[in-house]
C-alpha cells in the first residue's frame, strides 16, 4: 500500500455513436434472394412434413402422388393417430385412451402429465354433460391420487373441480376449461406424444421456419432498411421505408 501521489487523470473521450442505418433497395435485395439456391425437393419435404405432422393423411397421399415426395412415416399410422386426436376433439376421451393404449401401451405409462391431462379432460366432459355425481366420484377415484403425486396436478385438479361450484359455468373464472380450445389443447398434446413415440418430430418444421424469419427480420430492422415481408400469407416484399 502507499500514499497517493498525484491523483486524477481525466479521460474525456466521448464516443460519437454515429449509427446510420444502411438502406438496401428492392433490386439489390431480390438479387441477393435469387442467389440463394433452394432445392425443390427440400421445399416438397417441408410441405410433406407439415401434412404428415398435422395429420392430413389424404392431402399427404395426394401430394405424394403429385410430387413424388416420400413421407418420412408410414401413412397408415397417421390414420390411427388422427382417430385418437379426433376422439379427444369430440369429447370421447375414454375412447381416445383405449386407442392410444392399443397403439402403444408405453405412451401413457411413461407420460404422467399427458395421462393426467386426458383424465382431466374426461372430468371436464362429465361436468359439461351435467353428470355431477359421476364427476365427483371420478375426481375422487381417478384424479385425486395423481394430485397427491404432483403439486401442479393438484392445482389443476382444484381448478377443474371448481367448475362444479358455479351455477353458470359459462361465466365463471374457470370457464375457459369448458372451451373447445381446452379439447384442442389436450388433443394436440396426445398427438405430439404419439408422434414422439414414433420417433417423429412433434411439431411441423414450417411454423418454426416462419418464426425464424420474423426473428431475423426484427434483428435486421435495427441495422438496415430493406424490403420486408409483412404478410406471411402472401410473402410479398414491401418497399423499404426510408
Amino acid at each position: 500500500m502507499s500514499l497517493f501521489w498525484i491523483v486524477i487523470r481525466q479521460l474525456a473521450e466521448i464516443e460519437a455513436m454515429a449509427m446510420s442505418k444502411k438502406v438496401i433497395t428492392r433490386e439489390e435485395w431480390e438479387k441477393k434472394l435469387n442467389d440463394v439456391k433452394i432445392r425443390k425437393e427440400d421445399m416438397n419435404k417441408l410441405v410433406m412434413n407439415f401434412l404428415v405432422t398435422e395429420g392430413y393423411v389424404d392431402a399427404a397421399e395426394k401430394f405424394r402422388m403429385e410430387s413424388g415426395t416420400e413421407p418420412d412415416i408410414d401413412l397408415a399410422t397417421i390414420t390411427d393417430r388422427m382417430a385418437v386426436k379426433k376422439a379427444v376433439q369430440c369429447g370421447n376421451v375414454e375412447d381416445a385412451i383405449e386407442k392410444v393404449n392399443d397403439l402403444n401401451p408405453e405412451i401413457l405409462d411413461t407420460n404422467p402429465q399427458l395421462f393426467f391431462h386426458l383424465q382431466q379432460q374426461r372430468l371436464i366432459e362429465l361436468i359439461r354433460n351435467g353428470k355431477v355425481e359421476e364427476a365427483l366420484e371420478f375426481a375422487q377415484e381417478e384424479l385425486a391420487p395423481r394430485g397427491e403425486e404432483n403439486q401442479s396436478f393438484l392445482e389443476e385438479l382444484e381448478r377443474t373441480v371448481a367448475l362444479l361450484a358455479f351455477e353458470d359455468v359459462s361465466n365463471c373464472p374457470v370457464g375457459d376449461l369448458l372451451d373447445i380450445s381446452q379439447r384442442l389443447k389436450t388433443a394436440s398434446e396426445v398427438n405430439a406424444a404419439i408422434l414422439t413415440s414414433q420417433s417423429h418430430e412433434k411439431d411441423p418444421k414450417l411454423p418454426s421456419l416462419l418464426k425464424m424469419l420474423l426473428w431475423a427480420q426484427n434483428q435486421l430492422d435495427e441495422k438496415a432498411a430493406y424490403p420486408r415481408i409483412n404478410d406471411l400469407a402472401t410473402a410479398t416484399l414491401e418497399d423499404p421505408a426510408i
Binding site: 502507499s2 500514499l3 497517493f4 501521489w5
Partner: protein, 214 residues
C-alpha cells in the same frame, strides 16, 4: 550468528525433454500462519519516513503458485488505526507465473528494473532476458520471487487516504525467512522498500500452526 550458507551453484536449467515439476521449494518459513515484521520505507524528496509493517501468511497453494495474507501498516500518517490490507501473491515458478508481470501497468522494463534490485536475482538475469525465465528450474533455488498485490482494505474504508493500486515485487530468502520487496505503482513514489524478518513472537525458536480446508 548463524552460519550464512553460501549458495554458489547457479540454478540449473530445465532440460526440455524431461521437465519435471518445477514447483518452488516448499519452505517451512513460508507457510500459513507465519508472521513477518519490519518496515516499509516511504521516503520522498521532502522527508525520510518509514512505516512499521507486519505481514501474516494466510493461504498457500503452491500448485497454482498462489500465496495470500494480510499486511498491517502501523504508523501511517493521517490514519488513526493501523491499516490492514489483504494481498494475494503470485509465485514466480515458471509454470504459473514468470518474471514478467504483463499487467498492473508494469512493462517488462519495469519488471527488470525492480527484479535487478535483488542481488539474488543477478544469476537469473541473462536467462530471464533470453526467454522470460521459462526455462529456469527454480525448485532448488534458495530464494522465492513473488508479486504481492493488495486486494482490499480489511479494517478501513477506501477513503483512508492510502492507495493499493500498485503491487510489490518480493524476494523471500528460504534460509532465514527474510523478505525484501519494492512497491511499484506509477502513481506513487518509486522503489518504496519493504524489509521484513521472520517473527517468532516472543518464543525461543519457531513454532508452526496449520489448518486444512475441506
Amino acid at each position: 550468528m548463524p552460519v550464512r550458507v553460501a549458495e554458489s551453484s547457479a540454478p540449473s536449467q530445465v532440460s526440455g525433454a524431461h521437465s519435471e515439476e518445477s514447483s518452488p521449494p516448499i519452505c517451512s518459513l513460508l507457510t500459513v500462519g507465519q508472521a513477518f515484521s519490519g518496515t516499509q520505507n516511504v521516503s520522498n524528496l521532502q522527508k525520510e519516513e518509514a512505516w512499521r509493517v507486519n505481514v501474516r501468511i494466510q493461504g498457500c497453494d503452491l500448485e497454482h503458485g498462489y500465496l495470500c495474507g494480510t499486511m498491517e501498516a502501523l504508523n501511517v500518517p493521517m490514519a488513526d488505526t493501523p491499516v490492514v490490507t489483504f494481498w494475494e501473491g503470485e509465485i514466480v515458478d515458471a509454470k504459473n507465473y514468470t518474471f514478467y508481470t504483463g499487467k498492473w501497468e508494469a512493462t517488462p522494463e519495469d519488471d527488470i528494473r525492480h527484479w535487478t534490485k535483488f542481488p539474488s536475482f543477478a544469476p537469473l538475469l541473462s536467462r530471464v532476458e533470453a526467454d522470460g525465465g521459462k526455462s529456469l528450474d527454480l525448485s532448488n533455488y534458495p530464494y522465492i520471487f513473488m508479486r504481492w498485490k493488495e486486494q482490499y482494505f480489511v479494517n478501513v474504508g477506501t477513503d483512508c487516504g492510502l492507495t493499493i493500486a500498485g503491487f510489490y515485487y518480493v524476494c523471500f530468502s528460504c534460509s532465514d525467512g527474510s523478505i525484501n520487496g519494492f512497491y511499484y505503482d506509477p502513481n506513487s513514489s518509486p522503489f518504496q522498500k519493504l524489509e521484513l524478518k521472520c517473527a517468532n513472537e516472543g518464543r525461543s525458536g519457531f513454532s508452526f500452526s496449520s489448518y486444512e480446508l475441506q
